[in-house]
């Protein structure tokens, strides 16, 4: 049976596990109809021109994990940023693990979607925010139809959340092939600050497909720093759909670090609903073998006096393929917009490919919008300079690549995250650098 049919027919079984009389179920019903009509995207869709889902959709995924699986912290400690005190929301095969998590309701809510969608005290937030900024395309609708579990974070106004929040989705590999659809909702009220780190991690070589949706709402003057660490195993694929609604004077930054996984597609949309705010979208992608990574971003400038900055760096070796499709839309009323977009890529082999497509749709006339895209190789004379001082070729290459990614790494505000990313990159490049960057 094709995956689409399997999912549609399993909706009925799914309904047995949720309250079909709840208001939120109407949303699910509508969503499954959309997915039934649209299905999975193909290369005939412009937005998926360079990314085919065929090779990952052909696995016989289990769409409901059959057993509860427990994991010891010591087995997965390395996937956490463990040298920092943080809140943790951890899922194992889609089910919440209270053993590995650290949630709270003390003035702020850092807990579960399953509670939020069912308990009355969360009703007002769900009514006002759930599914209000998410897209209506096939994949997001599929997630909405099966939405039941994920991270729920609500920070009331004027709160500075001192500890970052780590959201980790683990899969045990007990199923031969597993499909997961976490649904996250993050609501940050006026003037509050929060830092979030999210990671998907499979523990075996069994295929995993994650179709994730995250909605973020940043109220006026809120500050949200979100870091995605995408360093999963070879047979794990991720489709991450994140939509962010910002109100005036807010600052939201999203850093996406992509090193692992078979196919990673990041759909990242920012909607600037207000004046005097800024949005930062940064990414570092370092892949090889036959990996494929596709960054599809949108920044929608709706009102005047806002800024956005996009800086995506990509390094592609072996037969890896990358896509960058960055769209900036500036509405007619969005005067004095400053929008910067930059996509820089290095190809380390003849068979690596990058398709970079910046798109600007500008309808206002008093704006500063720029886009720059470069594709090149490592600087041979810089390589020679270092090698002639005795630095071996592999380390010299790595130094150049770190330098290339440096300004994105430099904008990471949580030092422990920056260190972890640096270590992951050093591991990936096979080097041991003797100094801190």
């Amino acid at each position: 049976m094709e995956l689409k049919d399997k999912l549609v027919s399993s909706f009925i079984a799914f309904e047995n596990t949720v309250d079909v009389d709840a208001a939120v179920h109407d949303v699910r019903n509508e969503a499954i109809k959309i997915f039934e009509a649209i299905g999975f995207p193909t290369k005939r869709d412009e937005a998926w021109k360079y990314t085919s889902l065929n090779r990952i959709l052909k696995h016989d995924y289990s769409v409901f994990p059959k057993q509860e699986n427990a994991i010891e912290y010591s087995d997965v400690k390395n996937y956490f940023i463990h040298d920092i005190d943080s809140y943790k929301i951890v899922f194992i095969d889609g089910k919440f693990s209270s053993n590995l998590s650290q949630t709270t309701h003390d003035g702020i809510d850092i807990c579960l979607m399953s509670s939020a969608l069912t308990k009355p005290k969360y009703q007002p937030i769900i009514e006002n925010y759930f599914n209000k900024v998410a897209s209506k395309d096939g994949l997001t609708s599929l997630n909405t139809a099966f939405s039941k579990e994920g991270a729920y974070i609500h920070i009331p106004k004027n709160k500075l959340v001192e500890k970052p929040i780590q959201i980790i989705h683990l899969s045990t590999g007990n199923e031969a092939a597993l499909m997961l659809q976490p649904r996250n909702l993050i609501v940050v009220d006026e003037n509050s600050h929060v830092q979030i780190i999210e990671r998907h991690q499979s523990l075996t070589a069994n295929p995993v497909l994650t179709n994730s949706v995250t909605e973020v709402f940043a109220d006026k003057r809120a500050i949200v720093d979100y870091y995605k660490i995408q360093n999963d195993k070879e047979e794990a694929s991720l489709i991450d759909n994140t939509c962010i609604n910002q109100k005036r004077e807010s600052h939201v930054s999203m850093h996406t670090f992509t090193f692992g996984g078979k196919l990673v597609r990041n759909n990242l949309n920012f909607y600037q609903n207000g004046e005097h705010m800024d949005s930062t979208l940064n990414g570092v992608t370092i892949i090889g073998d036959k990996q494929h990574v596709d960054h599809n971003t949108l920044v929608h400038h709706i009102e005047p006096n806002c800024e956005s900055h996009q800086d995506y760096k990509g390094i592609f070796s072996d037969k890896a393929t990358g896509v960058f499709n960055g769209k900036v839309v500036v509405d007619k009323d969005a005067q004095k917009t400053n929008a910067f977009q930059s996509n820089n890529n290095i190809l380390l082999s003849d068979k690596a490919t990058i398709n970079s497509k910046p798109q600007l749709e500008i309808f206002a006339d008093d704006v500063k919008c720029s886009h720059g895209c470069t594709i090149g190789q490592l600087d041979e004379s810089a390589m020679f300079y270092m090698q002639s001082r005795g630095i071996p070729k592999k380390e010299a290459k790595a130094l150049l690549m770190f330098a290339f990614c440096n300004n994105v790494l430099g904008s990471v505000k949580v030092p422990e995250v920056k260190q972890r990313i640096t270590k992951i990159i050093a591991n990936k490049l096979g080097v041991n650098l003797g100094f801190d960057l």
Binding site: M386, R389, G390, I391, P392, E395, L399, L433, G434, F435
Partner: protein, 156 residues
């Protein structure tokens, strides 16, 4: 700069089967060499070759030479584009660093540098071959007479 030097030094030590140089020793060495070459320590915290003038870059190169202590150093047209002060810095460095345990090959087209770095041997290359060798007087001869007489000698 210091990070780069540290990386290079430790890479060299690793290749010889040695451990990394302890930080304390590294700092001491940096201090000593900087003093020897009259280099302002503020230079050393800047990024490699970023925003340095021609003369400052030369100072850096000589500092690297002092720290890495190569057995053989090749200075290829090191005097191109330098003013007289920068030239003196390079020459000063080379002179202070030379010893019986190392060698420096200086490649240049001009006599001027050789007023400051007095060579032990002079070789002239023509068409990729060494066609004439001599002591420091050969350099003076070339400055006076040019290179044509050598070409004629060779073609004869």
């Amino acid at each position: 700069m210091t990070n780069f030097i540290k990386t290079a030094i430790n890479a060299n030590r690793k290749a010889k089967g040695l451990e990394d140089m302890p930080a304390k020793d590294m700092l001491k060495m940096i201090r000593e060499k900087a003093e020897l070459l009259e280099i302002d320590r503020k230079f050393l915290s800047r990024s490699l070759n970023e925003g340095f003038s021609g003369g400052e870059k030369k100072r850096n190169e000589i500092f690297q030479m002092a720290m890495l202590e190569p057995k053989l150093a090749i200075l290829d047209e090191t005097d191109s584009g330098l003013d007289i002060d920068a030239l003196r810095i390079v020459a000063n460095g080379v002179n202070k660093l030379k010893s019986k345990d190392n060698a420096v090959i200086v490649i240049t087209h001009y006599q001027r540098l050789l007023d400051y770095i007095v060579p032990d041997f002079v070789h002239v290359l023509y068409n990729g071959k060494i066609v004439k060798s001599g002591g420091k007087e050969l350099a003076h001869q070339l400055e006076e007479k040019g290179y044509d007489w050598i070409k004629e000698e060779v073609e004869a």
